[in-house]
């Protein structure tokens, strides 16, 4: 029997509905989902920080953290313990309510954006019919958290940083949205489970010819910019804007998971055509392994960017978006429309 998470969720759901009345069962399920999401984010924070530091070290011919635990793997656990015992500090002249609220907004948008993401076949919090629109809409809200942090800290430099960061996120959302549109057009659905199902005979990046390749590259660039990471990190969110670093890694995970779902097939195993022996072998690897494998591949690519490219100035950054990425995106959208209408994709 193939490993299936859908079986587990179905049996838990069935047992809860048989034991309690439907309202209480729904509440219990919501609590379970919340705890799982928070646990996943805490775990991702630990794993991605050590991964980032190790990748950075190897790319810079260094060793990286190597003292705590085997090969330094428990370094982030120790760091987290140290951060927990730190004093929570709020400066005197800030707007206290907004100042303390801002990091929660950024974190919660990242968590809510996870709702329509399928981790495996049938292992999805909410299969809404506008899934991909929902994700783009929710991730846009995080810019409010950033502006809120900059404004409430009552400091002109924080405000400038927040404004730059806001300008950056708002402009790069355009190219991210347009590159997502290519996939939406090809699979002719906004529902994420449909998009994944459309890739059962090959991922879009293989099936979709040049337009999908271009939009994949643009999506990765826009995702890097939207998460405020190097080489687009002149706003330096974690030091100026009081956003704790977990939010950065949570956002990276979300955008990489979206990228993996749209372009690399999400939990869908590597398939070529239909019904070959190769596909059957690939089916034995569980979907959740495929999903996390692809997501971490994209996260690695974004880290690779960070430790290779020098940082852009704010004018170069906006030039890149408005003079290069956006025109290319529009032409690419036209090309993809022609291919989708003529049915030239596989």
């Amino acid at each position: 029997m193939k490993f299936s998470l859908e079986y587990i969720t179905k049996s838990v759901d069935g047992w809860l509905n048989a034991t309690f009345n439907p309202t209480i069962a729904f509440l219990i399920e919501s609590v379970i989902v919340m705890v799982l999401v928070i646990a996943l984010f805490a775990f991702l924070g630990l794993v991605l920080v050590i991964m980032e530091r190790k990748v950075a070290a190897f790319m810079q011919i260094r060793l990286g953290p190597n003292r705590v635990g085997p090969k330094g793997m428990f370094q982030t656990v120790a760091d987290t313990l140290k951060l927990i015992v730190k004093e929570g500090f709020t400066p005197n002249n800030v707007d206290k309510f907004l100042f303390n609220l801002a990091p929660f907004i950024v974190m919660i948008t990242a968590m809510v954006a996870m709702a329509p993401l399928p981790f495996a076949n049938g292992f999805q919090i909410w299969d809404v019919n506008i899934g991909i629109l929902f994700i783009t809409a929710i991730t846009s809200v995080s810019v409010i958290g950033i502006l809120m942090a900059g404004w409430s800290s009552n400091n002109k430099y924080s405000l400038l940083g927040a404004m730059r960061s806001g300008a950056q996120i708002v402009s790069y959302e355009l190219s991210a949205g347009l590159s997502i549109l290519v996939i939406v057009m090809l699979s002719s659905s906004l529902r994420i489970s449909d998009i994944v199902a459309a890739q059962a005979d090959g991922w879009w990046i293989f099936k979709g010819h040049i337009p999908v390749l271009i939009s994949f590259v643009i999506f990765i660039i826009a995702a890097t910019a939207e998460t405020n990471r190097a080489p687009f990190d002149m706003a330096e969110a974690e030091s100026e804007l009081t956003l704790f670093f977990l939010a950065e890694y949570a956002n990276i995970f979300i955008v990489c998971a979206v990228g993996a779902t749209l372009f690399l097939g999400g939990w869908m195993p590597l398939h070529f055509g239909t019904g070959t022996a190769f596909n059957t072998v690939m089916d034995y690897i569980p979907g959740i392994v495929w999903f996390f494998g692809k997501t971490f591949l994209l996260i690695f690519i974004i880290m690779w960017f960070r430790w290779t490219f020098p940082r852009l100035r704010i004018d170069q950054l906006l030039n890149l978006e408005w003079k290069y990425l956006l025109p290319i995106c529009l032409v690419n959208l036209l090309l993809a429309t022609i291919i989708a209408i003529a049915g030239w994709h596989f």
Binding site: F58, Q60, I61, L63, N66, T308, F309
Partner: protein, 160 residues
Amino acid sequence: MFIVDYIKEVFGAIKSLGTGMRRTFWYFVHPKEIITEQYPENKENGQLILAERFRGEVVMPHDENNEHACTGCTACELACPNGTIKIVTKFDITPEGKKKKAIDQFVYRLEMCTMCNLCVEACPSDAIIMTNDFEHSVYDRNELTKILNKPGSKIRDGIE
């Protein structure tokens, strides 16, 4: 043609970014290139290799007869930019009954030394050299003031 330049620019950018990414990925998959020295451990297993020209401390080499090459000319003392070296001279009586200048104490204050190597370059008889030894921490700063010539040592014959 504007549009040709535009496309050229895009492809040029992709090519140059690709060059950088190829280099970092090459380092990523070649862990043998790592140049980090694991300091306390590599001392124990003898893998601590310092460059020969690394400057750690000034010493005065003595041969097996407890003889050095320092004439006491104070060229090093004059060359030192921050007064690290102080040479105390004395006068030896040669067998012919003549008085000859020699060093009594070569005082070297490690705490003030910046390892600039000027004293070694100034020395006309190569009496002092820089060694690789870099573990200088002590509990009392008086231990950092060193007398470089060994007790009872004298100048090697034939060095003027």
